[in-house]
């Protein structure tokens, strides 16, 4: 008996848990085995092993403490095909426990999710119910020990999405997103701060209905992102909607940025950290290429390029979530507001001061011809000086080298004469 049990796959264990409702609706035949019957073999840790030494042990105590155990579900409630089994030890291949019997709604969501769809397409790596919830030890999500407890989700999802080997082998999107998340302000608040209000994986992605971001129905599809972030960041969502970037989203302009384009999706940093303030300049520059090029030509841009956020970044002058075009009277860089904007850092700034152009381009004649011609003059000056003295120095160097070589070769008396000739003192 042990031999065939030992060859049986762990599916036996899974089956136990997948057919509760069916069992509840149609009580097992009188011959159905009781939990004690099953545990006679499966309850002993030492003997409940397959031929290849893998375990088919079921911890009776843990099952008893689990949600299903507490409800008094029998093994055959999930492993329904064993309810009517006539031969013991039972067949090795058992039917897969069907959770949808009791949990039709989550199961339907799962079926349309990226996990369910991948599974259906034959990708064995995709998560099943048990991958996230466990099997014989399922606890309610509100239980702090549950795999699906809010604070535990990153670890659970991280079994695949935080595992470099799995991420690489299965080409999981976004790479090791759990590691990025752990280093984000959300991750730190959740995992270090233990804050239940901090978002966990399911807060943005949903749980059973996790969908790929390319799926328009996904919560994390680009166009839905402001709505998802706005569930917590309501004030920012309203600001964003009022600004130019939000307007582009409303106009279905795919080039308009949403939250994650500037903040990233998983590696979101504190906005008051200089690392973030300096990095986000680069993000603005991915679209606003001319603006960042001219910004880098000036003092502000040079200092931030070195990694210091002591000076103005894009947002210091332009605002952030409700950024508007300069022509908009509500823009901080509009003529009506520019002096006040400069004064945020330069307390003594006046209208004259604000005539400084923080995006001056010395390579364009307009709108600053004087800057352009000064630049041209400086280029010519540098070119002229270095060309002339480059040649001058080169000739001088060769001349003195030649003299030195002559002196070394010639007898002293003759060298003296040569030297006098060369000195023009002869």
């Amino acid at each position: 008996m042990m031999t065939s049990l030992a060859r049986m796959p762990v599916l036996a264990g899974l089956l136990l848990w997948f057919s509760v409702a069916g069992a509840a609706q149609t009580p097992p035949a009188p011959s159905a085995p009781s939990n004690d019957d099953c545990l006679m073999c499966h309850g002993d840790k030492d003997s409940a092993v397959r031929a290849d030494k893998t375990s088919v042990h079921v911890d009776a105590e843990r099952y008893g403490a689990s949600l299903h155990g507490q409800m008094g579900l029998t093994c055959v409630a999930c492993h329904t095909d064993l309810a009517t089994a006539a031969e013991w030890p039972h067949a090795e291949k058992l039917a897969r426990p069907d959770c949808s019997t009791c949990h039709p709604e989550p199961a339907a969501h799962y079926a349309s999710s990226v996990h369910g769809q991948s599974r259906q397409a034959g990708r064995k790596v995709a998560a099943t119910c048990a991958s996230c919830h466990g099997s014989h030890d399922i606890l309610p999500s509100k239980d702090p020990d549950s795999r699906t407890y809010h604070l535990n989700l990153p670890r659970t999802c991280g079994q695949c999405h935080g595992n470099d080997a799995t991420v690489a082998a299965a080409h999981l999107p976004g790479g090791n997103v759990v590691r990025s998340f752990e280093d984000s302000i959300h991750g730190r608040a959740l995992l270090k701060g233990g804050l239940l209000v901090a978002p966990s994986c399911s807060s943005c992605h949903g749980a059973h209905d996790v969908r790929a971001k390319s799926d328009p129905a996904s919560q994390v599809a680009r166009t839905n992102v402001p709505e998802v972030c706005g569930r917590c960041h309501e004030g920012v969502k309203l600001q964003f909607a009022r600004g130019k970037h939000g307007e582009q989203l409303q106009q279905d302009n795919p080039r308009g940025p949403v939250c994650i384009d500037c903040h990233s999706a998983h590696h979101i940093q504190r906005s008051d950290m200089s690392v973030w303030q300096v990095d986000v300049v680069r993000e603005c520059g991915t679209c606003h290429q001319e603006s960042i090029a001219s910004y880098r030509d000036t003092f502000h841009g040079q200092v931030t390029a070195l990694g210091f956020a002591r000076v103005a970044t894009c947002a210091s002058c332009h605002g952030a979530h409700d950024v508007r075009p300069q022509a908009d009277p509500a823009s901080p860089v509009n003529d009506a507001n520019i002096v006040a904007t400069c004064r945020k850092c330069h307390e003594g700034a006046n209208a004259n001061f604000a005539k400084y152009n923080p995006h001056a381009n010395r390579h364009h004649r307009d709108p600053m011809p004087l800057l352009y011609y000064t630049g041209q003059f400086m280029d010519l000056l540098l070119l002229g000086v270095f060309s002339f003295f480059g040649i001058h120095t080169g000739l001088w160097f060769t001349k003195e080298l030649r003299l030195r070589r002559q002196r070394r070769r010639a007898p002293p008396a003759k060298a003296d004469k040569e030297q006098r000739d060369d000195s023009g003192a002869a």
């Binding site: 400084y356 540098l382 001088w396």
Partner: protein
């Protein structure tokens, strides 16, 4: 050094070329110049990896900026002290030699002739010109630095105190100030760390360095060889003896050698970084 040095057993005569004040001014100039270059370059080449490292070595951009300003004050001090000295010579001592003639830094027709002659000598078309106290390339060095200090110093003050300057100057001038500050600095750094180093120190006749700016003294054979016109002029006027002095102080020489080595090392390293950045 030049090969026409006298036999070792003959005691060499020395002449004073630079007085103590000039030597001290030069030391302050070179130290503040190197300080300004090394603290300013990270900004000019902010997109380079080495710029971050260099700014980090100074303890961040704020302390680099502080050191930059301290060096600027030192350099401006050296500049003001020098200009004051020249004005004192001219107005109080009525010594108009500083304005025109062989002891003046002012470019003169003979400089053009000597430059032409010098370059003919480079290519073997004529004898070496007989230079006097200041040669044309030394005058170029001098005026390059003089003009550089006015331009870089002036624009630097604007960038240091923009709010004050904005009381009278429109802000777009700061755009030009920023441009010329950086470009002129590049010119100055490039020129001093290559051309000046070469002309003054590392060309074969001077290699590895000419200590006269640190000791103030030049041996007679060198004076005769390099500035025969000055020697003859002083001899003719019977003033040669006024300039005769003791041999160089070994401590001044050692100090000059040490400081010069540091300066040349840092200077060439800086040039390498700039060339690397420009080629990238």
């Amino acid at each position: 050094m030049a090969s026409s040095a006298p036999p070792r057993h003959v005691a060499e005569r020395y002449y004073q070329r630079f007085d103590r004040r000039q030597r001290v001014t030069h030391v302050f100039l070179m130290m503040s110049f190197i300080g300004l270059a090394l603290t300013g370059l990270p900004l000019r080449f902010a997109d380079q990896g080495w710029a971050r490292t260099l700014a980090g070595l100074w303890g961040g951009i704020e302390s680099a900026g502080f050191i930059h300003r301290v060096c600027a004050v030192v350099m401006i001090g050296a500049f003001v002290s020098h200009v004051g000295q020249v004005l004192w010579q001219v107005y109080r001592k009525r010594d108009y030699g500083a304005l025109w003639g062989p002891t003046s830094m002012v470019p003169q027709p003979r400089d053009v002739i000597e430059m032409y002659g010098h370059m003919r000598w480079f290519v073997g078309l004529g004898p070496r010109p007989k230079f006097d106290r200041f040669t044309y390339w030394e005058k170029f060095d001098y005026w390059a630095v003089f003009w550089g200090m006015l331009i870089i110093g002036g624009s630097g003050m604007m960038l240091w105190f923009p709010e004050t300057f904005a009381l009278v100057i429109p802000g777009w001038v700061f755009n030009i100030a920023l441009l010329v500050h950086g470009e002129e600095a590049l010119l100055a750094v490039g020129f001093i760390f290559t051309i000046h180093f070469f002309n003054g120190h590392i060309r074969p006749e001077k290699f590895p360095m000419d200590l006269v700016m640190f000791t103030g003294r030049v041996p007679e054979h060198e004076l005769l060889h390099e500035r025969p016109a000055e020697y003859e002029r002083l001899a003719r006027e019977g003033r040669l003896g006024l300039y005769e002095t003791t041999p160089p102080n070994p401590r001044s020489a050692a100090f000059g050698r040490a400081l010069g080595t540091v300066a040349v090392t840092l200077g060439l390293l800086t040039v390498a970084l700039i060339v690397f950045a420009l080629l990238m």
